[in-house]
């Protein structure tokens, strides 16, 4: 168990270093940070001083080391666009993005898995066929179009839901939450649907095809041949085996929801990290981009670790020491 976790942790660290390297390269080599940070009143002496202050005259590995150390302390420099420390900007916007992403993920899971199981068990029923067709439409509808349509119907025509923003938020310590106010909850509805819908269709299609795959497996056939009830076969055997691949891919999907929220946040002017990132891209605000990249990678790594641990719980093949097997 510990060996497994340690191995996973080491892999996670390698991944983080790779991403950090990409971010670092962006940071140090894309554009000229000195030029970007210097104003019209800069003199050559200022330029040399700043180059030195930024450590740009040091060898590459020293710079990378400093970058990683700073990153570990949450220091990603100052936004070129807003002029505030990137860490502060991201921290201000993290709660908004996380709340939206988690709600969207819950929606996608809560609706996607049962729908997928149903469509897998009854692939020929009209409901399953309708759901599959609808999911194809769901995959074909760009997220921003879904958002616009929702706004058009529920905010503009019907006036039921707010068209933008988070509504009123409550500050609990350093965390701002929209979950505790009526306007905050109402504001959450449309972005959640917009963001969750695509993932929902993906998860549903995934669960369905895994279910179909598992239902064809020999052990399912054998379970039926032993006369087990349909219930035991479908939900006892098939579903649990479906879960193994579904956990992995769903985990990855959920990680990507946070990054996907870029579009939703733009459409609904949701004050999260994604909105910050889009603005950073159009401004070529490299520090923000680099920090966002690292943050998303961190989320990915954490989710991956959780997925691995879940795997560990679900699949005995990982849990039991191979040495115990009686080979021949």
């Amino acid at each position: 168990m510990t060996a497994f976790v340690i191995r996973r942790l080491l892999q996670a660290i390698v991944v983080m270093l790779v991403v950090a390297f990409v971010a670092f390269s962006l940071f140090q080599y894309v554009g000229d940070p000195v030029q970007l940070m210097m104003g019209q009143f800069a003199t050559p002496a200022d330029r040399i001083r700043l180059t030195h202050e930024l450590g740009l005259d040091q060898p590459f590995y020293v710079q990378f080391f400093h970058f990683v150390v700073n990153a570990l302390h949450g220091q990603f420099g100052v936004s070129l666009r807003i002029g505030k420390p990137v860490s502060v900007l991201l921290a201000q916007r993290l709660p908004a993005t996380l709340e939206l992403s988690i709600c969207a993920a819950l929606l996608a899971l809560a609706a996607g898995i049962p729908a997928g199981v149903y469509a897998g068990l009854r692939p020929n029923s009209w409901l399953a066929r309708t759901a599959m067709s609808a999911s194809l439409l769901g995959v074909s509808l760009p997220t921003f179009l879904i958002g616009i349509l929702l706004i058009l119907v529920f905010a503009v025509k019907l006036g039921w839901l707010p068209a933008f923003g988070r509504g009123d938020v409550v500050h609990l310590g350093g965390w701002s939450t929209g979950l505790l106010t009526r306007s905050g909850l109402l504001s959450l509805i449309m972005p959640t649907i917009t963001l969750g819908l695509f993932q929902l269709t993906l998860i549903m299609r995934l669960v369905r095809s895994e279910m179909l795959e598992v239902l064809r497996a020999d052990y399912i056939k054998f379970a039926r041949a032993r006369g087990l009830s349909d219930r035991a076969v479908n939900f006892g055997h098939a579903l649990k085996n479906t879960l193994v691949p579904v956990i992995t891919i769903t985990g990855l999907q959920l990680g990507s929801i946070i990054a996907f929220s870029i579009i939703t946040e733009q459409v609904f002017q949701w004050p999260g990290m994604g909105l910050l990132f889009v603005q950073a891209v159009s401004y070529a605000d490299i520090p923000v981009m680099a920090a966002y990249l690292c943050l998303i990678a961190l989320v990915f790594v954490v989710i991956n670790l959780i997925v691995d641990l879940l795997y560990y719980v679900v699949d005995p093949r990982l849990r039991i020491d191979r040495a115990g097997a009686s080979g021949h």
């Binding site: 892999q11 390698v14 991944v15 790779v18 991403v19 962006l26 894309v30 554009g31 194809l136 439409l137 995959v139 074909s140 509808l141 760009p142 997220t143 921003f144 179009l145 616009i148 706004i151 058009l152 503009v156 095809s209 179909l212 795959e213 064809r216 990855l252 990680g255 990507s256 990054a259 996907f260 870029i262 579009i263 733009q266 990132f277 889009v278 950073a280 891209v281 159009s282 070529a284 605000d285 490299i286 981009m289 990249l293 998303i296 990678a297 990915f300 989710i303 991956n304």
Partner: protein
């Protein structure tokens, strides 16, 4: 003998596909729509009533005309005009052309990159394989749109000013790089199966590089799956392009793609000029849906077990 067998098999495969196609009304409809889109896009300069990218042809006094069948409409602008006086129909044709060009070019780029990396990873194995697949894993956690945005942002920083003229290639690069993983995984799996077969060993004896001969043997095996991935990927690429343009980091505003038009139209949500958003939006969804339907059908047809 083996050749004849292969020929017979491939013939059966082909005819199976053809049969399945003929008996799937959805697939046929999708193909028809897709062909119509491709045709309209390719022939845009000839079939469009106007050239919306020629700024000198635009006239503000034509702006925001409703579709021809509505009061105030102008028959020379069948689907109306946008705020700059661009004919919506023509802009859809030209925009679809950009979307398709970006989509196809990006997918080609992805395919080549993914297939090559998959072959190398599967064949060489060991550390290189581990490295490539690890990179693939990492990248998989970043959605295409994020990778594309990132590349776009970097391109902006590296090429200030020149960004607009290179926008097309930046898009292709951005979308292409973000999609290679699936191809690589498929090809890698197939390569690992083929690697240990005798003909690969034999190739060495004949002095042919095993990678060359493998490519020849692996590629036909993975053609089906790669085709399926590529089809669906084109749809994804088109959506990604539209999304980037919608976010305002895609093609320049003077050469609007479908996403740009939708963004423009978004500003007219309340003022009643619904056609600026609706028609490009519909065109986008129909085109993507057609490609997705084709991809879905292709996957089922090539892998009947999944039906």
């Amino acid at each position: 003998m083996a050749n004849r067998l292969a020929a017979a098999l491939s013939e059966a495969w082909d005819s199976d596909l053809a049969w399945s196609f003929r008996h799937s009304p959805w697939a046929m409809a999708a193909a028809a729509v897709f062909l119509a889109c491709v045709g309209a896009a390719m022939l845009a300069p000839w079939v469009s009533p106007h050239n919306p990218f020629d700024l000198a042809q635009l006239d503000l006094s034509n702006s925001l005309k409703p579709p021809a069948w509505i009061d105030g409409g102008d028959p020379s602008f069948p689907l109306g005009t946008d705020d700059q006086g661009r004919d919506i129909l023509s802009t859809i044709f030209y925009g679809a052309r950009i979307s398709l060009e970006v989509g196809v070019a990006a997918v080609l780029f992805s395919t080549v990159l993914g297939v090559a990396l998959g072959l190398v990873a599967g064949y060489v194995g060991g550390r290189i394989d581990a490295f490539i697949m690890r990179v693939a894993d990492v990248q998989l956690s970043f959605p295409a749109i994020l990778v594309a945005l990132l590349i776009d942002g970097v391109a902006r920083a590296v090429l200030p000013g020149a960004h607009d003229s290179l926008a097309f290639w930046v898009l292709v690069l951005a979308i292409g790089v973000s999609g290679w993983v699936q191809y690589a995984r498929t090809v890698r799996g197939s390569t690992m199966v083929e690697k240990n077969k005798e003909y690969v060993q034999a190739a060495r004896l004949f002095g042919i590089h095993p990678l060359a001969i493998m490519a020849r043997h692996v590629l036909p095996n993975v053609l089906g799956p790669v085709l399926v991935i590529a089809t669906i990927h084109i749809a994804t690429a088109i959506i990604t392009e539209a999304t980037l343009s919608f976010l305002g980091v895609g093609v320049p505003p003077t050469e609007p793609s479908l996403g740009t038009l939708i963004r423009i139209g978004n500003d007219f949500m309340f003022s009643g000029e619904w056609w600026v958003t609706l028609f490009p939006g519909l065109a986008l969804v129909i085109m993507v849906l057609a490609i997705n339907l084709l991809g879905d059908w292709l996957r089922d047809a090539l892998n009947p077990r999944l039906r």
